[in-house]
Symmetry: C2
Subunit: 310 residues, 2 copies
């Protein structure tokens, strides 16, 4: 935000206003938008400079006012400023206090940088990298190491749980070693599907495409999409199961693949909304977090089905 703006009063003539703009304009960051304030400096209108240029000199500011303006409260989040400038195609967004008194203005070029920084932060979070304070180029070894080791180490705990699921079914695995061939295929595909839906949600929430209260609608949609993807991939891998381990194995692989893709998809769509509800950044539902959780859930599904059928 910059406090260097030009404000005029409603009762001034256009000629008076333009002379004022000429005088004050040299010190202002932007005069593309001129603000109209009342004597107590409350914002009553925001007019583009072009309106002053295009109006007859003898009119008053009052006569060219449309009493139609967008402003933002000083305590709002900077992402909200980005959204408003973008949504209303503004050149500049006035900032007011709780009484409506004009404090300053945010220009669109500031906002473009903020939008890029926010997108970069979300990108990094989606890959389980804590947001870098500087650009990648400027970040040193220790900074990059610290921003990445946290999530990698935390996810190992979940990975250990996945290992335990395998360990618990040691005997089944030895008796049907073919089960182990499908482990990477099943859990990786589930993880991929979950990463897809999580990223779709994270971005849709960030851009305002989806609101928090639309979670149920999104879950319903992804239930269908997940089922469609799961059945398709289940059928595709049925043959692989048949080739490696006969009919029983083929059924296990088909059922597991369908279930894993469906469940992963729902985890992917649900987690960002849950995090949003908990006032956390939905982007924390990173691809690595989703794939790691899905590994655990997927193995549990796999062995539950295998135990029943074999």
């Amino acid at each position: 935000m910059t406090p260097d703006y030009v404000a005029v009063q409603a009762e001034w003539s256009i000629d008076h206003a333009l002379r004022h703009i000429r005088k004050k304009g040299k010190d202002s960051e932007t005069i593309n938008v001129i603000y109209v304030v009342d004597p107590s400096w409350k914002l009553i209108d925001a007019l583009e400079l072009r309106r002053f240029i295009l109006a007859p000199m003898e009119q008053t500011v009052e006569q060219i006012m449309d009493h139609n303006f967008i402003c933002i409260k000083a305590l709002e989040d900077r992402e909200e400023a980005v959204r408003m400038i973008q949504h209303y195609d503004l050149v500049a967004l006035p900032v007011v206090d709780s009484e409506g008194v004009l404090l300053g203005t945010v220009t669109v070029d500031d906002v473009l940088d903020v939008a890029e920084e926010e997108a970069t932060e979300d990108f990094h979070r989606v890959a389980a990298v804590a947001p870098l304070k500087m650009s990648y180029r400027e970040s040193g070894f220790w900074s990059l190491y610290r921003k990445r080791i946290g999530w990698l180490a935390a996810l190992i705990v979940v990975n250990m749980a996945s290992g335990h699921v395998i360990a618990r079914h040691e005997e089944l695995l030895i008796s049907s070693i073919a089960l182990s061939f499908f482990i990477p295929l099943l859990i990786a595909t589930g993880g991929n599907a979950g990463a897809q839906s999580a990223t779709l949600m994270v971005r849709a929430i960030a851009t305002g495409d989806l609101r928090a209260d639309q979670w149920l609608w999104a879950v319903g949609k992804e239930l269908l999409v997940g089922l469609g993807l799961g059945v398709t991939l289940g059928l595709a891998t049925w043959f692989l199961g048949f080739y490696r381990g006969g009919f029983d194995m083929a059924v296990i692989i088909f059922l597991t693949m369908t279930a894993i893709v469906l469940v992963s998809n729902l985890i992917g769509v649900g987690l960002p909304f849950l995090l949003n509800r908990l006032n956390m950044d939905p982007a924390v539902a990173s691809s690595p977090l989703i794939t790691t959780v899905v590994d655990f859930v997927g193995l549990t599904i796999y062995f539950s089905i295998a135990v029943r059928i074999l």
Copy 2:
């Protein structure tokens, strides 16, 4: 781009120019920037409207010109327009043909939308979703299904290769079933590290933070970071290996974890640059692609080390 702009000639007085702006400005999308053209309509300067307002009426346009302007060729990519407007903090960017003749102007509010769309496309690509044509909210079942099934199915082929690596070591696995407990841990951690570095690169290339010719520098940096992360995580899982399978297993897990994280990290940093070199979008180096490739590479590393030690 809009062809509705206002252009003036260098020899006009400010007074004449302002009268022209008043006349033409009503039909123009933006008069925040006024263009100065020569008689053959070649662009010779771009001046903010404020300069005309702030200048004495009797001066000529020539006198307030700085002969310093940024323009873009009509055939350039729209992402390049975003980058220029952002980098030079422009309100509007003039578009010229190969002769330098002014064709129109791109305003910053158009660019903000383009920047958001481009970031959304990259987000989706990074999660192996083919860019949606519409917003998520507007996309139907079939559209979402089609944009996702391609990569999921393609990655299954790589996953099958990972299964083959396990199948080839069937006997080793039966004799030391503990090896199977560590499969999710090792390949998931490698995949996570690779997804981190790939996303860091994709975003750094997209925002212009890293140039294509800086790949060797980035690989060198990630070699160090990957080694740091690998050794840390290797030591952390050493105990887990020791607990499950004794000293030999602990050594296998330590060596494998260090090697997998290091190699995954290098795949993650190298692939986006390679794709960029092949004139493909670096974002195709998605987290799912990286994790799936790393599964195969990781299992190969794991069994190579295990065969040698056990």
